[in-house]
């Protein structure tokens, strides 16, 4: 009996000692190693659609308006750019005289070597009710008060010139409208000079157009992938959404990653953030957005790219290409593939 008792007590003590201390407790790094964080910033020289607008004085009154627009994306299918006069409740489609300008490099700056560009007319001005665009070219639209009157359009009933994307006779109050210009207060019909702006919102027709703000960060998890978190960024204009791209230095390699999503863990689509509010979309901004991308899913490696871009793109009507309207960007850290790889999943201990 005494032997049995001693064996029992000894065994219990051994069991207790074994069970009492477990050195695998503690924080466990998901990637096994730290991630690198890079800022997601607003692009300094943003190429958003728009351009200068000039009114021409005939006698004592401004009689004609000329819009010189750039950064309009080439449209696909039957979609065309259409020109309207509109206010916040109604619109009338108008005809314009249209021409295209192409950039011609005539020399280089003797100090910094930047090219000196002259814009040359591609073809003579001609009447148009709709038009398409070419990457890198400028579109010039002209019309006069007399032409509008002859076409039966009372310009004093409207306040804005709006360029929309659509096929057939799309409604500018619901269609993507990359460019608008407020030419007068309601009832006056006077033309003025100014700047055509990006992102027409009929509900805020007196506003100043779309403006980028906010930012975020991208965390690069060595060779596994990367996670993006954008915070308090500008809500896309109506008809547009944010699309993510990975590009290399010369933008010869471009990979489309898809639209911006809500943050983890939901990762729900923000394709309709332009028209639908929600937990992460407020009236004027997207509060939080994200996207997680694994290199294995892309069948690519980080050394093939130099930047992550977020561009504004019309939901329909444009080709599946990198838009010119890149709004936010983050650099891909160099030599990311040389960071330590995790080999034991998320159970690898921090610091080991």
């Amino acid at each position: 009996m005494k032997t049995a008792g001693k064996v029992a007590v000894l065994s219990t003590a051994v069991l207790c000692l074994t069970a009492c201390i477990d050195d695998t407790a503690g924080p466990v790094a998901y990637t096994g190693k730290p991630a690198l964080r890079v800022g997601l910033d607003i692009v300094a020289q943003m190429q958003i659609p728009g351009g200068p607008v000039a009114g021409k004085i005939d006698g004592t009154d401004t009689d004609s308006l000329s819009l010189t627009l750039q950064y309009l994306a080439p449209l696909s299918g039957n979609n065309r750019y259409q020109v309207w006069l509109a206010n916040d409740t109604a619109a009338a489609r108008i005809g314009v005289r249209h021409t295209t300008l192409r950039p011609d490099t005539v020399g280089f700056d003797e100090f910094d070597g930047t090219p000196i560009i002259e814009w040359r007319e591609v073809a003579p001005e001609s009447p148009a009710t709709e038009f398409n665009a070419t990457t890198g070219y400028r579109q010039v639209l002209r019309f006069t008060r007399g032409e509008l009157t002859a076409a039966g359009v009372d310009m004093s009933a409207y306040t804005h010139v709006v360029v929309t994307i659509g096929s057939g006779d799309a409604n500018p109050l619901t269609s993507p409208a990359p460019v608008f210009f407020r030419y007068a207060g309601l009832g006056t019909g006077a033309f003025t000079d100014g700047v055509a702006q990006f992102g027409f919102d009929p509900a805020a027709a007196s506003g100043t157009g779309w403006v980028a703000f906010g930012g975020g960060s991208v965390e690069w998890l060595n060779v596994e992938g990367f996670g993006l978190l954008a915070q308090r960024i500008a809500r896309p204009p109506r008809g547009f959404f944010y699309e993510l791209w990975l590009v290399d230095e010369g933008r010869t390699r471009k990979v489309r990653l898809g639209e911006l999503l809500t943050p983890a863990p939901e990762f729900a689509s923000l394709m309709n953030a332009d028209v639908e509010e929600g937990p992460f979309v407020a009236r004027g901004e997207i509060i939080k957005a994200g996207r997680y991308v694994r290199w294995a899913d892309l069948q690519a490696t980080p050394d093939q790219f130099s930047a992550l871009l977020i561009a504004l793109k019309p939901k329909a009507g444009v080709a599946d290409e990198l838009p010119e309207t890149v709004v936010y960007q983050a650099a891909v850290p160099p030599n990311l593939d040389q960071l330590p790889k995790f080999t034991d999943g998320f159970r690898e201990k921090l610091g080991k």
């Binding site: 219990t12 503690g26 466990v28 991630a35 983890a264 994200g290 997680y292």
Partner: protein, 207 residues
């Protein structure tokens, strides 16, 4: 008339518990009110690790260096109670059936997750009622000692898996998805299975 039972073994925790399987030890003191019926107190002890994949991913940023961490801890689990045992001799062996009522108490690792509490509401420990049902096969060396192997089902009520989390809600990881997004749903009653082997002996000899 007294029997002391000392056992150890492996606890297979309910998949909804957020606890990893762990070793345990127990000690029982039984008083035979009948040759085949005994009652007495028991105490089970274990120190399981929480399963970090059940809890939120946290993010700690130091400049441009960021850690996405899953955090676990080793908790201390005590389960005292009162049980009744019915024994049925079968040749040199004895079959035992056990049933008991008790409480469970889990204390968190104070070095990892201590938080200040108020009297009557200690955020560092939690307790609730438990029910034990089990069976064992006993082989006696003689009248005073023997070996036993058994299995016990321990039901813990008022269980709160969220209590075991050490992930600071102020440090959420929003850049990357959780590595294990689909864990079993939490339950307020969990059923753990204990596989055990041990010894019994009667200090006075005989029962």
């Amino acid at each position: 008339m007294y029997t002391v039972v000392v056992t150890g073994g492996q606890t297979l925790f309910d998949k909804a518990s957020g606890l990893q399987d762990a070793l345990h030890a127990s000690v029982e003191a039984r008083y035979n009110i009948h040759r085949n019926i005994a009652i007495g107190p028991y105490l089970m002890i274990s120190r399981p690790l929480t399963d970090e994949t059940y809890f939120p991913l946290v993010r700690m940023a130091f400049g441009d260096t960021v850690y996405h961490l899953l955090v676990n801890q080793q908790v201390t689990m005590l389960e005292p109670g009162i049980e009744a045992v019915i024994s049925v001799p079968v040749g040199p062996f004895e079959l035992q059936g056990t049933g008991g009522l008790g409480i469970w108490l889990i204390a968190k690792d104070p070095q990892r997750s201590w938080r200040p509490g108020i009297p009557g509401d200690d955020p560092n420990r939690k307790e609730g009622p438990s029910v034990v049902l089990g069976g064992a096969l006993v082989y006696s060396f003689g009248e005073s000692g023997g070996l036993r192997v058994g299995v016990r089902s321990v039901m813990l009520r008022d269980f709160d898996r969220e209590f075991l989390s050490t992930s600071d809600p102020l440090l959420p990881s929003e850049h990357i998805p959780h590595p294990r997004p689909n864990v079993p749903a939490p339950k307020s009653t969990i059923n753990n299975l204990r596989l055990e082997a041990g010894f019994h002996f009667s200090p006075g000899g005989g029962r």
